[in-house]
Amino acid sequence: MRIAVCIKQVPDTEARLRLRKDGRWVDEEDLPFVINESDEYALEEALTLAEKTGGEVVVLSLGPARVKEALRKALALGAQRAVHLQDEAFEGGDAPATARALHAALSRESFDLVLTGSQSDDNGYGATASVLAGLLGWPHAWLVMGVELEEGGASLKVVREMESGMNEIVRIATPAVIEVQAGINHPRYASLKGIMQAKRKPQEVLTAADLGLDPAVVGAAGSRLEVVSVAFPSTGAGAQMIEGDAATAARVLVEKLRNEARVL
C-alpha cells in the first residue's frame, strides 16, 4: 500500500507565545515547533499499515524552511521519503488554499491512502484534509479512532468519533483520505538507527512553479479569509488570582474555598 501522510509543523503547546510586530500572528523567532499532535498519530497509523502491507510511506509538509526538521523526524520514525512544499506563495493560506497546494503535490503520484491529522493546533480549521478529499474526489472520514483494511485494501472499516462518548463504525472505499484523531495508537519513538538513516532519505522541495500552480490560488492570495489581528483572550476575567509562594497560595485558597465559596 502506498500511503501519503500530511504533517504540519506547529508551535509547541508548551511555548510562551508573543505577538508579532504586525499583530497578525505570533512572533516565530525563538518559538519551538513540533509536529502537530494528531499528525503524529496519523504518521504512526501510516507506518503500521505500511508494515502490514509492505508498502511505502511518503510524508508531505507545507511550510517554511523550519519544516525540514519535522520532515526529518518523520523520516527517522520510518517514512521512506519526504516532500516539502516550500514557497513564499504558499504561506498564510486558509484551509482551501492549503488543500489546493497539497492536492497538486499529491496528484503527481498515485497513492492508495492519504492520512492526515484531524485538526491543526495552530489554525485549527479541522478542514484542510476534507477539502483535499473533495479535490481528489475520494471519500474521507474525520476524527478517526480506528482503521482496518478490508478485502485486501479495497475498502476500510473506520471507527469515527461522535459526540457524547459514542463511536460510529463505517465502511468506505479506497482510495480515501483518513483524518486521524489523537489517541488512536501509541506513536513510536525514533531509534538512533532511524535518526542516522533519515539523513540519507530523499527530501524533495517543491515550489508553486514546480507544481504548475498559479500563485493567486494558494497561500494568502488564494484565501477567502484574511487575518486582521490576533490577541490574547482577556485572561482571568472574573477569576480571583491568588498571589504568593506555593505555601501562601495554598493557604489562601483553602481559606477562600471554605469561607467564601463554602465548598470545603
Binding site: G124, E168, I172, P233, M241, A250, L264
Partner: protein, 332 residues
C-alpha cells in the same frame, strides 16, 4: 440589478439526531438571525433527513423567512456524500451570502467538502462577529484557544461558517412563524456504509454525579506523577477526571475523560490542574459551580472560566494544598 440592491440572504443548516434537534441547532439559529440583522439580510433555515416534518415544524417556530426541508431516504443516516449531494445544488441555486452551521463533529466532517464542491469560502468555529470600522470581522480561537484571531472575508461568493458551542445563546433565538417548503433535490447518494455504533468507554465511571472533581491535564507530566493529585482527590472525597491527552497517553483510563468527546460534568467544585483550557475541554466542565485552576502559564485560557486561580508549578502547589486540607480536617 446591481449586487448592492439584491437582498442578502443567510442560511442556517440545523442538525438533529434520534428525532431531536441538536442543542447547538438553536445556537446556530440565534447566530444566523443576529448575522442577518447586522447585514440587513433575511434568515432561512434548512433541515436534512428522512421523515422530518415534526422537526421542520419546530424550527418554523423561530423568526425565519423560510424553513427548507431536504427529506430523502438516503438522508436517514448522516453521510457526508448524502449531505453534500443534497446541499450543493441548493446552495448553487440560492446563492446565500453566508451559511451558518453549528460547529459539531458532524458539520466539521462534511462542511469543508461542501465548500470545495460549491467553491465557497470556509470560516470554521466562529465565536462572535462585529460590523465595525474594520468591516464585518469575525473572531475564532487559534493556537488551541490560547489566542483569538479576528478575520475578515474577502472576495465574492458564499461563505460557509460554523459557530462554536456556547458562543451564541440559544435563548436569544427570536421566535416567530416561518413557512415550510421542500428543497428541490437532485440525486442524493450516501457514500458510507454505516456498520454500527459503539460506546467509547464501557462500564464507565459516571462523573456527572460527582460533587467534587480533581481534573489533571498534560501538565501533570506522567502516570508516575499522579500521586499528589490522587491524594487531593482522596482528601476531598473527589473523583479523578482528566483532559484528553492524559487519556491518550494512557496515564488514566478513557472513562476519566472530560470534554466534548468525554463526559460532561457539573460538580460543586472542579479543580483543574495543569489543564490549559481548550474549548473541547471547557464544554465538558463549564457547568461546574466553583472552578479552581492551577497552571504555571498566567495566560492559560482555563483562568477565563475559573473562580480562583493559582499561577505556579503544580508539583509545588499540590503538596502544600494537600497539607493545608489535611490540617483543616484534623482541626475538625
Amino acid at each position: 440589478m446591481s449586487e448592492d440592491l439584491m437582498s442578502k440572504k443567510i442560511w442556517i443548516v440545523t442538525q438533529h439526531r434520534d428525532g431531536k434537534l441538536h442543542r447547538m441547532s438553536r445556537e446556530a439559529i440565534a447566530a444566523g438571525q443576529q448575522l442577518a440583522q447586522a447585514l440587513g439580510a433575511s434568515a432561512e433555515a434548512v433541515i436534512l433527513g428522512s421523515g422530518i416534518d415534526g422537526l421542520a415544524a419546530e424550527i418554523a417556530g423561530y423568526d425565519l423567512a423560510a424553513v427548507h426541508t431536504a427529506d430523502h431516504a438516503a438522508l436517514a443516516d448522516y453521510t457526508p456524500g448524502g449531505y453534500v449531494s443534497a446541499l450543493a445544488p441548493a446552495l448553487a441555486a440560492a446563492r446565500p451570502d453566508f451559511v451558518v452551521f453549528p460547529h459539531t463533529y458532524q458539520s466539521v466532517d462534511y462542511v469543508p467538502l461542501l465548500a470545495q464542491r460549491v467553491d465557497a469560502g470556509l470560516l470554521p468555529e466562529v465565536t462572535s462577529f462585529e460590523n465595525g470600522d474594520d468591516g464585518l470581522v469575525f473572531t475564532r480561537p487559534v493556537l488551541a484557544g490560547k489566542m483569538v484571531s479576528r478575520v475578515r472575508v474577502r472576495g465574492e461568493g458564499t461563505v460557509l461558517l460554523s459557530v462554536q458551542s456556547g458562543a451564541f445563546s440559544a435563548d436569544s433565538a427570536a421566535t416567530g412563524s416561518a413557512p415550510v417548503a421542500a428543497l428541490g433535490l437532485g440525486e442524493v447518494t450516501a457514500d458510507r456504509e454505516i456498520l454500527g455504533v459503539e460506546e467509547v468507554a464501557e462500564d464507565q465511571v459516571d462523573l456527572s454525579k460527582a460533587d467534587v472533581i480533581v481534573a489533571v491535564g498534560r501538565g501533570i507530566g506522567g502516570a508516575d506523577k499522579m500521586a499528589p493529585a490522587r491524594e487531593l482527590a482522596e482528601l476531598l472525597g473527589a473523583e479523578i477526571g482528566a483532559s484528553r491527552p492524559v487519556i491518550d497517553s494512557d496515564w488514566l483510563p478513557r472513562d476519566r475523560q472530560i470534554g466534548s468527546s468525554g463526559q460532561t460534568v457539573a460538580p460543586k467544585l472542579y479543580i483543574a490542574i495543569g489543564i490549559s483550557g481548550a474549548i473541547q475541554h471547557l464544554v465538558g466542565m463549564k457547568g461546574s459551580s466553583v472552578v479552581v485552576a492551577i497552571n504555571k502559564d498566567p495566560k492559560a485560557p482555563i483562568f477565563n472560566v475559573s473562580d480562583y486561580g493559582i499561577v505556579g508549578d503544580l508539583h509545588e502547589v499540590l503538596p502544600e494544598l494537600n497539607a493545608k486540607i489535611r490540617e483543616l480536617k484534623q482541626a475538625g
